[in-house]
């Protein structure tokens, strides 16, 4: 009995199975047929005066941080320039995956220039793909270009965002009641130390008795530890918190929950802390990417020398900006911040001016000397300025 029933069922299922397979086969063919022309259409569009630019991010595009800043830059650029098409891929790890992404963009999307935005993409991935594709231009965020060593079709750009951090420090100093500021940082590397020092120097230009307590989490993205650090800093009586991690979201949210002030980084986090958000040091990649796109469209390239290999700048050159001031920022603080900003714009303000000593009492800059923003000594910074509580070895 059971055998017969099985037989009957299986026959019905044969028909069903055949129908389903047939339907899937037909539609899959249709599907491929539909998708092919759209792909060729995009490639065909490349010839008609448009410029295809490829962007690669290491994390998600909506991380409220580093990657969001770049993605907003790319989106803003393509909005301003209708002829620029953005091809983008997010959450690409710093492994062979990024090599493959770049090759795919070159071979399948016909891009004119690539913007792999994560620091760790440079060596060996960009260098390798750039050598194999000498006609494609690579622009890397991080300022790692070395004359004579780096391939000719690789350029790099980076901004002096510590200028914005200096102003954020001024605002923080005007707002803080306890005189204690907090800084949650990823790793004790020069880029990060520079932001901590500039923030502290900005704050101490207002009140020389202020201190900045720094906590290194050890990783670019470690939300749990960032939240723990924010809580412990709040417990210590710190009332303005800022950070340098990939996504400041957790830090800003925790500060708001604890009822203290916060200052953002990378992108605008005002929506995360309606009450306590003071201002923030933001990248302004729209300007940079639009400039590059215009130059590329005009036929200038890194290879023919039309585009400089190393592009850097601060507030004046439009590489970074400040978030709009939050409701807690006093008129006095705003005036002080705007005054400092004006000085940055006319180039009269130098952050690192002697005499400076580090937080162990060792002199790092003699009286009467100063480091301009493009000074290489600043890019090898390994010290924390007087007024910072913490150590680079922790």
């Amino acid at each position: 009995m059971s055998n017969r029933r099985l037989l009957f069922l299986s026959r019905r299922q044969v028909i069903r199975g055949l129908l389903a397979t047939g339907a899937f086969g037909v539609t899959a063919r249709l599907g491929t047929a539909c998708s092919t022309p759209s792909a060729t259409g995009a490639a065909g569009g490349a010839g008609a005066g448009t410029v295809n630019l490829g962007f690669v991010y290491v994390g998600p595009k909506d991380d409220y941080g580093y990657n969001q800043a770049h993605a907003e830059g790319a989106a803003g650029m393509s909005k301003q320039l209708p002829w620029a098409t953005v091809v983008e891929e997010a959450s690409v790890p710093e492994t062979t995956a990024v090599e493959e992404t770049m090759l795919n963009m070159i071979n399948q999307d016909g891009i004119a220039a690539l913007f792999p935005t994560s620091f760790g993409y440079f060596d060996p991935y960009i260098l390798k793909v750039a050598k194999e594709n000498p006609e494609v231009q690579f622009f890397h965020c991080g300022g790692l270009y070395k004359e004579g060593v780096t391939p000719n079709n690789v350029g790099s750009y980076y901004g002096y965002i510590d200028e914005a951090q200096y102003i954020a420090g001024i605002v923080a100093a005007h707002t803080s009641k306890t005189g204690k500021l907090g800084f949650i940082a990823a790793k004790p590397i020069p880029q990060v130390l520079r932001n901590i020092n500039s923030f502290t120097l900005g704050a101490r230009s207002v009140k020389p008795s202020l201190t900045t307590q720094v906590v290194f989490t050890g990783e670019w993205s470690l939300p749990v530890k960032e939240a723990e650090s924010a809580n412990s800093l709040a417990d210590q009586g710190i009332d303005v918190l800022t950070c340098h991690v990939d996504s400041p979201k957790v830090v800003i949210e925790t500060a708001e929950k604890r009822g203290i002030f916060s200052s953002g980084y990378h992108a605008n986090q005002a929506t995360l802390a309606a009450k306590g958000y003071l201002t923030g040091a933001e990248w302004n990649w729209v300007k940079i990417y639009s400039d590059y796109a215009e130059q590329i469209r005009a036929g200038k390239t890194l290879i023919n020398g039309g585009i400089p290999h190393l592009v850097r700048g601060g507030l004046k050159e439009g590489f970074c900006k400040l978030s709009d001031y939050g409701p807690a920022v006093s008129a006095e603080a705003k005036n002080a911040a705007e005054a400092a900003k004006a000085q940055f714009l006319d180039g009269s303000l130098v952050i690192y001016k002697g005499a400076l000593q580090d937080n162990t009492g060792k002199p790092v800059l003699a009286a009467g000397k100063e480091y301009q923003q493009n000074d290489l000594a600043l890019e090898e910074m390994g010290w924390l300025v007087d007024g910072v509580i913490g150590s680079t070895s922790s």
């Binding site: 037989l7 199975g17 599907g31 491929t32 990783e219």
Partner: protein, 378 residues
């Protein structure tokens, strides 16, 4: 192998994972439809990006290479009844060991010697790391899944500590990493391709593992312990020794994967080593049902899925996490399908066999369809 008597039993471990994959494809299609993309276009794009041309298939193979080796780290101990998920940690330790041994040898030895020494160091480093998990399990009865998972974090912390301090190249300012291996000492690509030699190592390791587990007395002993540890003890099998050996072998495969990452991809050790290959390879081992040969195929499949992540973003404007959703769906459905083994009547040995061949083949198709339907209903 496939005789008339046991074809049902042979088909079971083939049909169930394949059906599980199909079901997860359907679920993923639903997800894509909800996200506003045409599921058929998505399938077509995945196929094109993963297997469509030699150019894209190389992309798949590049991603599959580290998965094969490190999946053995889960697959081998599973035959002994241990669920070890310390692949990531063993990979990182293997990478660290290989660079620590390799760098001092660079000035005094030829590239071949350096690479051999690095591979050996990676194998021993990763092996000892997982052997510690096995020892904890056998001598102290510590749950091996938890301890191997936690040891991943220790390994990553150790990596961060070493590249941030003791083995740091002072010129790596903003991205702490070890001194680089000179170009001449790197493991090159397989001639004519973009794929590095890690793929060959993976294939060889999987083949050796298969032979060792299925066709040697050692493998038989391991599977006996995995089947019934008490019976194995009574039979006089050295359970402790087998546990340690199998854990060492498992860790050594992941350690070798770490060495390949250093010598073929990164050229140095830095935090980027920690790229979740270890976790993806757990998935590979489970889908392959701990069979080393199946792990090769599944690695290629998963490599294909990962390779297609890019095109989903670039031409279909799906979010970057889409490919992770797909991977998660596959994992869930496959785990669920594990519960179906031995429960589908169709795969059970039938008391009275068919005589005519005419009925045999439609039954086969029908059985696959029935199995598929059963999964979908669940």
């Amino acid at each position: 192998m496939i005789s008339r008597r046991n074809w049902r039993a042979t088909l079971e471990p083939v049909c169930i994972p394949v059906a599980a994959l199909l079901v997860s494809l359907v679920l993923f299609g639903l997800f894509c439809a909800l996200a506003g993309a045409n599921p058929l276009a998505v399938y077509a794009a995945i196929y094109k990006a993963a297997f469509g041309s030699w150019f894209s298939f190389q992309n798949t193979l590049i991603r599959a290479a580290p998965l094969m080796l490190s999946s053995l780290c889960t697959a081998l101990p599973a035959l002994l009844g241990l669920v070890i998920i310390g692949n990531e940690g063993a990979l990182v330790i293997g990478a660290l060991a290989s660079i620590i041994v390799g760098l001092p040898l660079v000035p005094v030895a030829s590239p071949l010697v350096v690479l051999m020494a690095m591979a050996l160091a990676g194998i021993v480093g990763g092996g000892l790391w997982i052997m510690a998990v096995g020892a904890l399990r056998y001598y102290r009865a510590v749950n091996e899944t938890i301890s191997s998972l936690l040891m991943n974090y220790i390994a990553i912390a150790l990596l961060n500590h070493l590249v941030g301090g003791p083995i740091r190249d002072p010129s790596s300012l903003n991205k702490p990493s070890s001194f680089p291996l000179p170009d001449a000492f790197l493991l090159g690509d397989i001639p004519g391709t973009r794929v590095h030699y890690g793929l060959i190592y993976g294939l060889i390791a999987c083949a050796i593992a298969y032979f060792l587990m299925r066709h040697t007395t050692f493998g038989f002993a391991v599977r006996t312990v995995g089947g019934n540890i008490r019976a194995a003890r009574i039979a006089g099998l050295p359970v402790g020794k087998l546990t340690l050996i199998i854990c060492f072998l498992a860790g050594s495969c992941a350690g070798l994967a770490g060495m390949v990452e250093v010598a073929a991809v990164h050229g140095r050790v830095s935090a980027s080593l920690n790229a979740n290959y270890g976790y993806s390879s757990i998935l590979v081992a489970f889908i392959a049902r701990q069979n080393p040969l199946a792990a090769v195929l599944v690695s290629i499949l998963l490599g294909g899925i990962l390779a297609s992540g890019g095109i989903l973003q670039r031409s279909l404007q799906l979010p970057d996490a889409t490919v992770l959703v797909f991977q998660g769906l596959v994992f869930l459905v496959v785990l669920y399908s594990e519960s179906l083994y031995g429960r589908l009547a169709i795969f059970k040995p039938q008391p009275n066999k068919e005589k005519s061949d005419g009925n045999g083949s439609p039954r086969l198709v029908g059985s696959a369809a029935g199995n598929h339907g059963g999964n979908a209903a669940g």
